[in-house]
Point group: D5
Chain length 130, copies 10
């Protein structure tokens, strides 16, 4: 299989229908403050080898009207456990879904993936509302 066929397989990731992330109303929305959530328990599947990949996700955001319901976010991440997806796409997809769900003032997502073949990869995406 050639490299381009992998790309083909990954194009659909942007359209992939992930579970809804529940939210709750931010009762301090008149204050600007930051929330950071960190989990070392993210796992997905390598699209090339079919073997599991592991990552630590570090999410930082400044909420507007909505906060992220913690348990629902955990369940959202479970959808990736059997999904073949590249490191770069994990971070971009989760960011896009979170921005759509809570429309934050600012948001940053960092995915620190485990060492593969002697190389450790980290991907970082930042979002700022206009």
């Amino acid at each position: 299989m050639t490299e381009s066929s992998y790309e083909g397989r990954q194009d659909h990731i942007r359209e992939w229908k992930t579970p809804e992330i529940e939210t709750f109303r931010n009762i301090y929305s008149d204050r600007e403050y930051e929330i950071r959530m960190e989990t070392s328990e993210f796992s997905c599947v390598c699209p090339k080898t079919g073997l599991p990949d592991f990552a630590t996700l570090v999410l930082t955001f400044v909420p507007a009207e909505l906060c992220i319901e913690l348990k629902s976010f955990k369940e959202y991440l479970l959808a990736y456990r059997n999904q073949g997806i590249f490191h770069e796409n994990v971070v971009n997809k989760v960011t896009d879904d979170l921005v759509a769900a809570i429309r934050p003032r600012r948001l940053r997502l960092e995915g620190q993936f485990n060492n593969r073949g002697g190389i450790q990869t980290t991907v970082v995406r930042e979002y700022e509302s206009r």
Copy 2:
């Protein structure tokens, strides 16, 4: 019980009457300097499960005319020990109470809450007087 009822329960937090924080006069109020207080002994209660939550609080401020009396601040924090309150609201409520008590030049409060279900949450609020 639905999610919205939790929100309802938390709206009253902004009106909750907490103990007074005692202060003392800053004898170097003509100098600008920073005070940092850190405690790993904050505990409150999760409004959903009724189980205790634990956090490290890191307070940094630039005093104006008043400083925080340390023992009184410790007793103030004890009021949260049996209070059902979300992480986000802890940091915002304590910040609002401190700003009201000492009217500082600047103040920052960071609450680092213990891991729950594989996710560690931190909340940060910053205040600057105009």
Copy 3:
């Protein structure tokens, strides 16, 4: 004894006559460079309990014409060993004395005081000559 009487006891700190800090001529005064001195051996007395307090002091400064003679600075700090003085005042008093002694371009003093009652306190003062 009321809180205000403690304040009264501390007002005199600004007038307290501490030992002179000896200096030596900076032979590179035509260069701008930074000197950092750190000691974990500062001790004073709590004015409320009469018990010893302990701190790490971190001094950073950009000298002008004068440098601090190390041994004399050590002896200067010994004057605090039996002095009842609040954390905030230690850092402000030492800063004022150092600025008077060496008239630096910039100076920063950080005092990291040991945990008391579950709370660790740090005080930072910065000075810049005009």
Copy 4:
């Protein structure tokens, strides 16, 4: 052999034909995000002594249309394993090759070389497209 002859030997490094670095299409090229790859398994040869040198490489870049194919990057680095090359030139050569291969928005490469004769050397190069 004199110092200048070493320089002579190293001039050719800029012209040295290294293996091609494969790339794949960035499906999130409409987003600006950062990728960091770190390997502690880089080895080359000291041109003076013929003995192996070892380094940790830390690559950080913001992709434009192309990403780096991980396995191909690993094989690219293998070309240095038997190459006599100075620390400074390793970092500059790899940077130039990466910039040519993926034309990134920004790129930074840091090479942390192992201690030799009591001195540890690090080289850092940054690139920004105009």
Copy 5:
């Protein structure tokens, strides 16, 4: 002996004739990049007590046309092993010598000297070409 006589002894440091630092041509002088060299093996002598002093030196610079030949730099530093010299002067003297030898775009030298009498001293000098 009075303090001023020590100063007298140190004035000559600016004129002290140290060994030449060898250089080699930077074949990437059309690129701006940074080189960092760190050694924990610097030793000199305290001019007051005659006892050895020890320091870690951290040198960071952006080369222009010339790089520092590593072995020659190591031998240059050996000249301080039996030299009575104050901490402040070590960092300023080495900086001046390096700037003269390689005329860099930028250079920074940090000397972290071992604890003496409970106080640890660090000296930092920065240079930028105009």
Copy 6:
């Protein structure tokens, strides 16, 4: 109140009726193996001051026929949250209750209590069945 009256208050701790610890059958009881459970979320109350105390508990045991049901153990520990009890007695009481509940081959409990007045206290109890 004299010191002896505190002792009096603590004698009843050995008779204090704590919640039952649930267990489950060890399906590998024919193998000897060790289980370690560590929580940094233990809190009780100082019998002298009425203020909360905090500790990390580290439990290690070799099960016989029964294992500790994790959630029930957590609820058991909650019974101490409002109990006035000395550090030494916490560790001994919890050990006695665990030994009674699961009759292990071996068990060790370490309680690392937070610093009070500059002193950090740890208590360790070991049990071995005959």
Copy 7:
């Protein structure tokens, strides 16, 4: 569902048919030496909640005639990724399977499971051939 029904569900674990672990001949079987393998990428499922659990496994053994083929061991561990199994049983099951596969002189397996509800659990099993 009562606690005892969980026990029922776990009894079958001892009979669960896991994939074969491949081995290779130890060409130094006349020497006694130790092999240690550590992976932070073990994942299984909690039989109560159906949510993923995560652990670091540390395996240490003294081989007799056979060594563990690394890739096959990795694939063996993948069989647990969707298996509901308690922490205690993971460590005992893997130990029994390894002992059966390579009949080592000695073997020790430690499973360090991630924090759940504020409690971190570790399980250790040791085997020695007679």
Copy 8:
């Protein structure tokens, strides 16, 4: 003053009358368990220079009928704050006083004194009752 006169000054340390250490009854004296107390706030005076010395004390003991009252132990240690005493004698004197006060089953005291002249000194004494 010659070295032998220092020895003379220190002989009296064994006879020095220190404050009484208060105790309380060990209500678990039928169990064997260990108590560890650690403080980084010990200070005394160097008999040669008159300058303060600082140490971390780590006390470990197995109580018999009596435990150490924490606050009284803290006050006992204050008696050394202005006492000229060698490192070796601090550890031996405190050990002898503690053994006399609580007659423990076992006791160990470690004093880790701050670096002086580039040398860090630690003294350890162990006691076991027969």
Copy 9:
């Protein structure tokens, strides 16, 4: 290629002719003392993939009549740089060669190999003369 063919390729390792390790006479051979040498710069080749492997080697031995000449040991290790060899065999081969070269009283070699596929492998061999 089947697994057994790899074994076949590795059998010859025991007969592989490596470079001689030079020694020097131990002038304190009438004293028993230990020497430890640690290098993080060992590299060999994986016989399966042909890709480089990396390890930290920690050698500890009690010399009898001969010590290891450091530079010669370094050159000896270079012979592995292009050799296909399994982790287990590296440690056993180097141990056998060292024992033959210096006939020590005791010797221990630990090879800590870099993570491959999420698993980090360490091999330890101990030797004791009779």
Copy 10:
């Protein structure tokens, strides 16, 4: 110069006349206790290259009738600063001199020498009186 000539140069080390180490009377000689002294400021010269070597020395001993006078020990170590001597011989020579000076119950000396050519060497000698 051949290797054997280095050995010849080092034979004389056992006869080398080093400065006397002063002692003081142990006033707790009826107690068995341990003293540990650690310095990271040892320097000598490599007999092969003439370049300085650096080490951390960790001395642990149980005194009999005599203790080591700290300042005199420091001066004793200065005698090595310009001495060409191998790592193994440093540790053996200092041990022999200390045993002769204080006739301790037990003594252990560990010399941790700085990395040379990628290899870090540690030498440990233990002495026990009969």
